[in-house]
Structures are given as C-alpha cells and as structure tokens.
C-alpha cells in the first residue's frame, strides 16, 4: 500500500505488511522510522534518476527495498541501473513498477461529463471490462523472475467504495501479481484519525486482503494453451486485452528470445512478430506437429506456402502443414473482439481449458502445478453483484472445493465429469473466488 500522510496506523490494524513511501515527497527519516516501528516492511518508490540517492537513504534506514517507477520510454536504461544498484546495495530489494495499470472496473456505455462534449465508449460488445490481466501476463514475461508489480490511478470518481478497493486487491491476488494500492487521501486521513466510517470501509477490504494473501503464487504457474509471439511487449495491445476478457488463457513470447521447445503444448500460436527465415522455419515445424498457427499481417514468402492454399474468406488463407495448419491473416487485426472470438472457435470445445456460463463479467485464470496438472482456478467478478456461475474445466477432477473472502475455505462443489471435462456450479461469486481442483 502506498502511503502519503505524515503518520500512519499500525500494520496489524491495517492488515497490510508492506508500505510504500514516495521518495519524491521526501520520505523523511522520521516517517521511515515510524513506519518500521508500526510494523511495516518499508519500500521507497522513486523515479530512475533519483534511484541512487533513494537507495542510499533506504539502506541507511533499514528499508526492505526500493521500487523504480519507470515509464516504458525509459526501460532501456533500467536494466543497467538495476544491476548497478543491486551490486551497490546487495541487501536491498530493487523492484520495477509498471505504472500502466488501470482501475479494474465494469463499464457501461453512457458517458457523462459536466459542461463538455462527450466521447464514444467501448468499441466492442457489452459489458466492457477494464482488467489488468493482459498487462500482468506481459509483465510476467518481460520482468522475469520478478513477480509483476503494477499500480494505477483511480479513474475520475468522487467516492471510492470498499468494493472498488476490494476489486483491485482481488484482481492482483487472482492474477498472482503485486499491486501498489493507492488509497485516496480522504481514506488515509480517516484511517489516521480513527474515523469510524473509514475503518468500516477498510475492514470490508481486509477480508479480500486476507483472501488474496493466501494465493499459491510461486508454487503454481498460469496454465495456457495459446501462445502470442510479438516483437515487443506492448501493455496497451487491444488483442491481448480481448483474449483476456474472453477467458482464453495465453502466454506472451518475444520473437527474438523464442525457443522452439517453449512452444510445445500450445494448441494455437498467434504470431504478430515480423518473421525472419529462422522463426518462420520454427513456425512451420510447430504447425507440422498439430498446432494451429495464426500469422497476422506477415507478408512474405514462407515454407508453409508450398502447400495448397485454401482461401477461407476475404481476410484469411489457410495452409495445411503436417498435421496442423497455418492461417495467414492478410492485414492487422481490424476488430480485436471478433479476433478473440475467432481464436476461441479455433480452439474448439475439445481444447478449451475453461469455459464459463453466465460469466460475462468474470475473468478466470487457471493455474497448473509443475507436473502441468491444472489445480487451481482464480476468479474475479468485475460486476460486484453476486453471480451464479457454471464452469467447465478440461480434465477429470474428483473433488472441487470453493473458497471466497466472505465464506472462507472451503465449500465442496459437485463435479460432473464427461468426455475429459469436469463441470460444476459456483453458487455465488461476488468479487473474488478460488476453486481448488483435485484429482485422484
């Protein structure tokens, strides 16, 4: 949690162990000392150009680490700076913070502005979900081995509710990422002054904090059967956002780092990167081994083009390669919503790792253990209204247990198994839910 005030309540009452103080605000020695006395592990957040002095002050005051808030434009210099800071202060954790997060939210299409002209809202189907899942997936790739760390500013909104904070916490927990949560000034002031309303709000958030603290991050890996290959990781890419919103589990790769073995096990590979001869050969081999490869806007001559082309529609040509195929989409993705739906259709029911019914406002992320068995499903409902969800997961599971911030762990759900899939009904999810999948 980021704290801007001069005083702060004890860690035990806030239910938060780690606090972030902004170096730009001076992070005075007294506040650093107070925060430590109050039971916090203290981080100092700093821009890159002040990182050295922040690290020095931090090390002198027994901070746990510094957090570098780096805009994407400065990321080239970052690696060098991190290496030199780690070498100078080996006991200090040096973390990178992505400031590109957005407030998690379900949105409508009415736009209301006072005294001004209004704008068009979402170009895609309702309901629109603002989620950080795509950002986190990309951070998982680009910041390895650091757990993705992000923050966001609250959208223009006069009063933040417990549900707003809970959703932000639940999202980070479910996606196994770290969030620097920024409570608004009124809440910080209220908590400092022991205001009853402020504490009532925060106590509601605490149940989600407790729930999210018990994730299995570190032990489990996100499960995915769709790979996305790009030249550069772009956190604002709408296609990856839409794949996330349609609950299509994907993993991002950078073309230059690509190793063929990394792509084994993916049913669909989507290539946005410009292809060179070597990568094209790998793509061809991958398709031969039964994968479906979608090459987007990749004009050129490639090995798979030696087979007979089949014109699927005005946009796409298909080439059969071994037991798989390559689909060439002639231009860039013109409609990310339709593209995401197409990818789900290409996967087909047999390859869908998970499917939700009544889940238009819910994002689910499956996790697998080191033996590649799916064992956990984290769910976030952006509507904040209790929903009854029907879920289908790939695999045969004998026991399904469900936990929530409201009811703890765990309620047994009745699994129905058929054709290699397991179905069950989640009786109610409000904001967060976690499903444990157990097989014999």
């Amino acid at each position: 949690m980021q704290w801007n005030g001069a005083t702060l309540p004890p860690a035990s009452s806030l239910g938060v162990n780690e606090i972030v103080l902004a170096w730009e605000r001076g992070a005075p020695r007294a506040l650093l000392a107070t925060a430590r006395r109050q039971g916090y592990r203290v981080y100092v957040e700093t821009p890159l150009n002040q990182a050295t002095s922040a690290a020095k002050r931090c090390a002198e005051n027994s901070c746990v680490g510094i957090i570098l808030k780096v805009p994407e434009a400065e990321s080239a210099e970052t690696e060098k700076s991190i290496a030199s800071l780690r070498s100078a202060y080996p006991k200090l954790r040096v973390l990178l913070l992505s400031p590109s997060g957005k407030q998690p939210k379900m949105r409508g299409s009415l736009i209301i502005k006072r005294d001004s002209v209004l704008e068009v809202s979402s170009p895609t189907a309702q309901p629109w979900i603002d989620t950080n899942l795509a950002l986190i997936k990309i951070e998982q790739r680009s910041r390895r081995p650091q757990i993705p760390l992000y923050t966001f500013s609250w959208a223009d909104q006069t009063i933040l509710t417990a549900d707003d904070y809970s959703l932000a916490v639940a999202e980070a927990g479910a996606f196994h990422a770290d969030l620097v949560l920024q409570p608004d000034e009124h809440l910080q002031e209220g908590l400092n002054q022991r205001d009853g309303e402020a504490w009532a709000l925060w106590n509601q958030v605490r149940s989600t904090l407790r729930f999210s603290a018990h994730t299995s991050a570190g032990r489990l890996e996100p499960a995915a059967n769709v790979a996305v290959i790009v030249d550069q990781l772009d956190t604002s890419d709408e296609v990856t956002n839409l794949l996330s919103r349609h609950n299509i589990p994907f993993q991002a790769f950078i073309a230059v780092d690509l190793k063929t073995e990394e792509l084994k096990g993916f049913d669909i590979v989507i290539v946005f990167a410009k292809l060179n001869a070597e990568t094209a050969e790998r793509i061809n081999n991958l398709a031969s081994a039964a994968a479906t490869v979608v090459v987007v806007d990749g004009h050129g001559t490639y090995p798979w083009q030696s087979s007979q082309p089949v014109q699927l529609n005005e946009h796409t040509t298909s080439y059969a390669v071994g037991s798989g195929k390559v689909l060439e989409l002639r231009g860039p993705v013109s409609d990310p919503e339709t593209f995401a739906q197409d990818i789900r259709r290409l996967l087909g029911k047999q390859n869908a790792l998970l499917s939700l019914w009544n889940g238009l406002t819910t994002i689910a992320v499956p996790y697998q253990d080191r033996g590649a068995r799916m064992t956990l499903l984290e769910l976030v409902n952006y509507a904040g209204e209790p929903l009854r969800l029907q879920v289908q997961v790939k695999g045969s599971f004998t026991m399904i247990r469900y936990e929530t911030p409201e009811h703890g762990c765990c309620e047994s759900l009745e699994p129905v198994k058929h054709d290699g899939f397991t179905e069950f009904v989640i009786p109610e999810i409000r904001i967060a839910g976690r499903v444990h999948l157990e097989s014999p």
Binding site: G108, S109, L110, D115, E119, V120, P127, L329, S355, E385
Partner: protein, 336 residues
C-alpha cells in the same frame, strides 16, 4: 432474432449537465448508477432536487429490472419464462402479467412483420449460439429439426394471463424485446418516484430518454455508425432508441455464425447494416430494431410508413444510408 443483445452496438448518450460551479439550490442534481442485469450493464442517469431522491428512485428502478430478469431470463431455471418453456407444451400455463404482456406485444410484432420477428426462434438461436462458441456449424438436418419447432402462430394467448404452446418442442426467447420492456418498466418506476428527467440505457441496445437534462431540448444520443463516417444523432425527449446489428463477420473462419437468425431461412441473417429505431417507448423500439434489420431497408421502410412517431436509419460499414422519418429527425454530424 437475437438471443442476447449484448452484441448490439453501443449507442452513446451525450448528457449535457449543469456544471457544479453554476449550481444553485434549485439546480437539479444528476445521479448516475450502473448495475449488471440481464447479461448487460444497465445505466440510469436521473435528475432530482436531491441526490438522495434520485438515488432511491434509481435503486427502485434497478429492482424492477431485476424482477423483469427473474421473469424473462432463459438462463435462470426458475424464471417464469423457463417454467413456461418447460410446461406450456403439456398444459395451459398461467403466467405473471408482465410476462403475458411482453409475449403479447412480441406476437403483435410477428404479425406485423409476417413472422420475420419471432420469439419462438429459440431452438435455432441455440444451435447457432453453440456454433459461435466453438461447436461446428449446424448440419441441415439439425436446422430442419429446429425449424419445425418455430412459428409464432403456435403460441396461444388467452387473456388475461394464460399461454399454451401448440408445438411439442417450442421454446420462447425474449432476447429481442425483453430489455426494451425492462427499460419501460424502469422508466415507470422512476416516474412513480417523482423523476421526470432521466435516461435508462440497457447496454447500448435500448435507451429510454425521459424529459430532458436541465436547460436542454432533449437528450443527445449518438447512434451506431459502423462506417465511422456519418455520426448520426438524435435529440430525444420522452422517446426511446434501439439498435440492432448482426455479429461481426469472422476474420479467420470460412463461415460466420451470428446471433440474429432469420426464421424464414433458419440461418443467421447476412447483413452488414446496423439499424437504429426511434419510437415513444422501449418495447416497440427494441422489437422494431430487430424486425427492421431482418426486413432490410426496402421492406422495412414501407412497414414504418404505416406507423406514426417512428424514425429509423440503416447504416452500413461502407456508409450506405437509408432512413425513414415519421418521428424525431435524425441529424448527421459528418458529411460524406
């Protein structure tokens, strides 16, 4: 016919409200709330003399929409519609008055459109819905089997509240009219709470504009424009606008499914038009939007020619425009 209007393009309402700096004690307060119901986001913006009054009225309106969902949902097994779909083949079923009314109005649209609008199309909709979510395309025999279950004339309505199905496999789907009806009911709730100036939006597919924002002639609503070249808009006062549009064409598949099914062919309608219809209430605008999309501009315009207080626009991605105006004028923000 639609199974779910979340696919419909979003309309955008422009709400010109009074700035806080200019507010006096007499200035109406604008309160905005949103809630996820019927598989979409319902939004209500309402003016009242106090935020408490507006907020309480909006909550009451949302409760009414939730009640409508409990009546008309196909997903909820215990909804009145699900019960009707399970049992009206066997015996005459008594239904709640709201469900009877919405089905009665839907049947009127079926008669008006000679069966193009048909709430009995559910078995076909379900087939194509499965194709949209990854199943293979329906086979001719599957389609034929489903088509045999379709036909609005097999719904027998006995006033004031009894319904019988004259087909053993018929199912009703109110996706093409239910949200419009829910919007109207919400409007009545706001009105009964003393709210005269408000807008109710069901996920962009139907918007009901009650009264107008303070100092404005009406609520400015930008209509769906797949070409992005025309920017059509209307000023609505005590009127409703609905939009209907087929699912976008697949980028990667040889055939496209779609959520709006033509009962005459048993297949998704092949049109790139988006249709917006303006009428006095949400139920007719919602029903007419789908009807006019299915009929196309030529037949659709002649249907609207027989109606008063109705305007409609068909707009394609290539900026082809067809309009018919017997109601509010449709303006164009851009010139080709």
């Amino acid at each position: 016919m639609r199974f779910d209007k979340r696919w419909a393009a979003a309309l955008v309402v422009v709400i010109l409200s009074v700035g806080s700096s200019a507010q006096s004690s007499d200035t109406p307060i604008l309160v905005y709330k949103e809630k996820y119901i019927m598989g979409t986001v319902f939004e209500i913006a309402a003016y009242a003399e106090s935020s408490e009054k507006a907020s309480a009225a909006i909550d009451k309106a949302f409760q009414e929409i939730v009640r409508m969902d409990d009546l008309m949902s196909n997903y909820k097994p215990e909804s009145a519609l699900s019960r009707l779909n399970r049992s009206a083949h066997f015996h005459t079923q008594k239904v709640p008055p709201d469900l009877y009314r919405v089905i009665e109005q839907a049947v009127q649209f079926s008669r008006l459109s000679d069966g193009k609008f048909d709430i009995t199309v559910a078995p076909l909709v379900n087939l194509w819905k499965a194709a949209l979510s990854g199943d293979s395309m329906p086979s001719p025999s599957q389609r034929q089997q489903a088509e045999e279950c379709v036909g609005y004339e097999k719904i027998e309505l006995t006033p004031p509240d009894q319904i019988t199905f004259r087909s053993s496999c018929m199912q009703l789907d109110l996706g093409a009219i239910g949200k419009g009806y829910a919007v109207d009911r919400a409007g009545e709730m706001l009105h009964s709470s003393g709210i005269c100036n408000a807008s109710i939006n069901s996920g962009g597919s139907t918007i009901l504009a009650m009264g107008s924002p303070p100092g404005q002639r009406g609520w400015l609503v930008h209509l769906r424009d797949p070409s992005h070249k025309i920017d059509p808009y209307v000023m609505l006062k005590d009127q409703s606008v609905s939009t209907s549009e087929q699912t976008a064409v697949s980028l990667l598949a040889p055939e496209s499914a779609g959520h709006i099914i033509d009962p005459a062919t048993g297949q998704p309608i092949d049109t790139r038009f988006a249709v917006s219809v303006i009428t006095s209430w949400g139920t007719p605008s919602d029903g007419l939007a789908t009807t006019l999309l299915l009929l196309g501009p030529e037949v659709g315009k002649s249907l609207v020619d027989g109606m008063s207080n109705v305007s409609a626009i068909w707009l394609s991605p290539k900026a082809e425009i067809e309009t018919v105006n017997h109601g509010p004028e449709i303006f164009f923000g851009k010139q080709l």
